[in-house]
Subunit: 254 residues, 2 copies
C-alpha cells in the first residue's frame, strides 16, 4: 500500500515509523509547519509538503493522523475521489469522513504514543472500522503487518474504549505526576515510587483490578484518610480528588 501521511505529531510519527519498518511505502508527509513536516519526512525517508495543492493524488491510502478538529478542513481541500481515507482518532465518528470520500474508515491504534519513545506495535490493539467490507479487508491487511491484535469495532465501541483509555492511561499518568510532585515537596526521589508503579500495573495484567484494590479507602481507614486530606491543604484540587476517589473505592461492591 502506498500511503500519504497527514500529521507530524505523536501518532503520525510512531504509526508512520511502524508502517515504514514493515515496508509500507510512505509516499509523502503533509504537515502544517515546514519544520515538523521536514523532520518526520526525514525520519521516514520520503518527501513532504505543507501545501494541500501538492498532495500526491494517486495514493492507495490517505492516513489522517491530525487533531480531531483539523479533519474536515483538511479533507475539503483534497479531491480524494475513490481513494481510501482513514482517520486515527479514538473519539471521532467514522461518519465525519462521509461528506468527503466514497471509501473511508478508521485506523485507531490504542496506545499512548510519544515522539520521544519508540514502541513495539506488535501487541498494540489496532481498532478498525470501514464503510464497506472490501475497505475493512484492506485496512485489516495493512494493520496485520504491524500488529497481532487487530480488532473490528464500531464508532460507539471505539468511543467507549477511548474513554476507558483516558482513565487507565491519561488520568493514571496524571496521578504519577501528582505523586512525583508530592515527593519533591519532601525532598524525596520519584525513584522510590517506581517499583510500586511497575507492580500496580503488573497486577492489573494478571487480576481484575477491582479484586486487588488496596489502600486506606478500601479498608475505610478514616484516620489515615483524614491525615492525608490535611496534608493536601495546599492543594485543594488534589484534596477534592482524594475525597471523591476514596468514596468511589469505598462504595464499590467488593
Amino acid at each position: 500500500m502506498r500511503v500519504v501521511l497527514f500529521g507530524t505529531g505523536n501518532v503520525a510519527t510512531r504509526l508512520g515509523s511502524a508502517l515504514r519498518e514493515k515496508n509500507t511505502e510512505i509516499l509523502q508527509v503533509f504537515g502544517r509547519t515546514e519544520a515538523a513536516a521536514a523532520d518526520l519526512a526525514r525520519l521516514l525517508g520520503c518527501p513532504f509538503t505543507t501545501s494541500q495543492k501538492e498532495i500526491i493524488s494517486d495514493a492507495d491510502l490517505y492516513l489522517l493522523a491530525v487533531s480531531d478538529d483539523a479533519i474536515p478542513g483538511l479533507l475539503s481541500g483534497i479531491p480524494v475521489g475513490d481513494r481510501l481515507v482513514v482517520h486515527t482518532a479514538g473519539s471521532v465518528s467514522m461518519e465525519v469522513l462521509a461528506p468527503f470520500a466514497r471509501n473511508f474508515g478508521v485506523f485507531y491504534p490504542l496506545q499512548t504514543l510519544s515522539k520521544q519513545k519508540p514502541v513495539d506495535f506488535g501487541n498494540i490493539p489496532i481498532c478498525l472500522e470501514a464503510n464497506r467490507p472490501e475497505n475493512l479487508e484492506k485496512l485489516d491487511a495493512l494493520a496485520r503487518t504491524i500488529s497481532d491484535k487487530v480488532v473490528h469495532i464500531d464508532s460507539e465501541q471505539r468511543a467507549q474504549l477511548h474513554l476507558a483509555a483516558v482513565f487507565a492511561c491519561n488520568f493514571v499518568n496524571r496521578f504519577y505526576a501528582i505523586g512525583d510532585a508530592l515527593l519533591k515537596e519532601q525532598q524525596l526521589d520519584f525513584d522510590l515510587l517506581k517499583p510500586l508503579i511497575a507492580e500496580t500495573a503488573a497486577k492489573a495484567l494478571q487480576f481484575a483490578p477491582a479484586t486487588v484494590q488496596t489502600g486506606p479507602a478500601v479498608r475505610n481507614n478514616r484516620k489515615v484518610m483524614e491525615k492525608h486530606l490535611k496534608m493536601l491543604a495546599q492543594h485543594p484540587e488534589w484534596q477534592k480528588l482524594y475525597e471523591l476517589i476514596s468514596q468511589d473505592i469505598f462504595h464499590t461492591p467488593k
Copy 2:
C-alpha cells in the same frame, strides 16, 4: 534475628515470607482469628497463637503488620521490656510506639502487597526509622537481607511517601477498574487496555510523568471532553472525577 510476627494480612504474609526466605527465624505468628493465623503459620513453618498471653517473650524483634488502629491495643497487652518493636505502617508516626517500648522503630515496605501475588522484595524500598541509632542499625541489617533499596526517612517524609503512593498505586488501580467497568458496558475485553496500561507505567519509569502527559485534557480538546462527559451520564461520580482531573491536567504548567 528471631522475630514474632503480628498480623495475618497482605503485609504480614508477604513480608513474613520474604524474611523467612532469607533465613530470618520467625518464632511465632500472632493473629486475632485462628484460621488466618494457622494459615500463615503453616506458610512460614512456625507456631501461631491467638492469645496475647502466649506471645513468646524473648524474641529479638516484634514486627507489627496489623491494621493501624490495632497497634496500641495490641502492645498494651504485651510486656516487651527492652525488646525492639516496629510497625510497618505508612501513615502512623513512630511515636505511637513510645508508650509501650524503650526500643522501637518503623519497617515500612513501599509496595502494594497481596496474599494472591508473590513479589520480589529485592527492589522494594524499605523505609526505616528508629528511636536510637543502634536500633536503626539492627533494622538496616535486617532490611538489607531482603532488599537492595533501604532508606532512612522520618515519620513526616514517610507519611508524604504514603500519600504519594495512594495516588500512584491505589487511585491508579481504581482507574484501571473504572476502565474495566466501562469496557464491559460495551462488551469489550479488558485485555484491550493491557498494552496501554503497561506502556503508561513503562513511560513513568523512564520520563518525568508531567512531561509525557497525553490525552484530550492536555490538548484542551473540548469536543472530546464534552462527548466523554455525556457518555458518563450514568456515572455522575466518574463524570465529576473526569472534570476535575481534566482541569488539573490542563492547568498544570507544561
